[in-house]
């Protein structure tokens, strides 16, 4: 599962039950980009 990042304190967050940053309580999280290379067609 891809990790998340808190929009306020920028710390890495794991989501289990609640969508909430355990460090600062902020409820907006960004999904982190996957590590792989993304192949796309330029169309």
């Amino acid at each position: 599962m891809a990790g998340y990042k808190c929009a306020r304190c920028k710390q890495k967050v794991e989501i289990d039950l609640n969508v909430r940053c355990p460090y600062c309580g902020h409820r907006i999280l960004f999904k982190e980009r996957g590590a792989g290379i993304k192949h796309l067609k330029a169309r």
């Binding site: 290379i37 192949h39 796309l40 067609k41």
Partner: protein, 274 residues
């Protein structure tokens, strides 16, 4: 068949094609638009992109960037000796690695082949903010405009029939048609209306002059008549910069010739089989 240029630059040409059929003029136009191959970015491998644009939008923008093409150096991937795996003669590789804050331009694409560069170095691709980063590799391929418009070598490419304006002897030089013409093709001469110097090719054959002539009460038939010449055509060809217009035209003629030859071969084969 004869071509005379009234303008020939690197990226725009204006010429008249003489002694051709309408079918050939249209074939020539269609071939220049859809069959002349150019390089354009087709595959993008994105390692990192945290800009405001999605990966898909970014790669689409990259695809539209025109790339200088040397048709003697590159072949289509499907016709390449590598069998479509991708080698230096069927693809041009670019790398891009930029960290913000800045504007990413097409000049930041670093070509592996120094000949296959972007036409312009200052096409904006994406604006990066602080801590934003784009790292990617792009592969350009040779293909044609009938596959996707990004491979289209021409921009404005069209023709019109050469206008033939005849003014009868019963013209009384009333000047109604001169006033009516939206492109100022006509002028008042000594005894009748005349065509202004060098303006004939501007005529759009709208026939407002014929109507104006009729309205002036000249009789059953207008004294001026505008007709298209079906054997002469005025062409305008504009290139996007990936190929010079002259190369587009010559390779279009080559393609037409090859297609016609292969048609002859097929017909011979069929008639021989019977």
């Amino acid at each position: 068949m004869e071509i005379s240029f009234s303008r020939l630059d690197e990226d725009i040409a204006r010429f008249t094609l003489k002694d051709a059929t309408p079918a050939f003029a249209n074939t020539f136009r269609r071939t220049m638009i859809g069959e002349v191959p150019t390089l354009a970015i087709e595959d993008v491998m994105i390692y990192d992109n945290n800009s405001a644009l999605f990966d898909e939008i970014l790669s689409h923008r990259l695809g539209l960037i025109p790339i200088k093409t040397d048709l003697s150096e590159y072949v289509r991937r499907s016709e390449c000796s590598c069998g479509g795996e991708g080698c230096s003669s069927c693809q041009a590789i670019f790398t891009l690695s930029v960290e913000g804050p800045c504007m990413v331009h097409s000049g930041d694409l670093i070509p592996a082949d120094p000949k296959a560069t972007t036409v312009s170095t200052d096409i904006p691709v994406v604006k990066l903010g602080k801590d934003q980063k784009v790292v990617l590799e792009a592969r350009a391929e040779l293909n044609d405009g009938s596959e996707h418009a990004k491979w289209q070598s021409t921009l404005a490419c069209g023709y019109k029939a050469y206008p033939v304006i005849t003014i009868d002897d019963n013209c009384d030089a009333c000047g109604n048609c001169v006033e009516e013409c939206p492109r100022n093709v006509l002028k008042i001469g000594k005894k009748s209306v005349e065509i202004a110097d060098g303006k004939l090719e501007d005529c759009s054959m709208c026939r407002l002059c014929e109507k104006a002539c009729m309205a002036s009460g000249i009789g059953d038939k207008p004294a001026i008549s505008v007709k298209p010449d079906t054997e002469r055509f005025i062409f305008v060809v504009e290139s996007d910069g990936s190929l010079p217009v002259k190369d587009i035209m010559t390779s279009a003629f080559g393609i037409i010739k090859n297609k016609a030859d292969s048609l002859v071969d097929v017909l011979n084969e069929i008639s021989g089989a019977i």
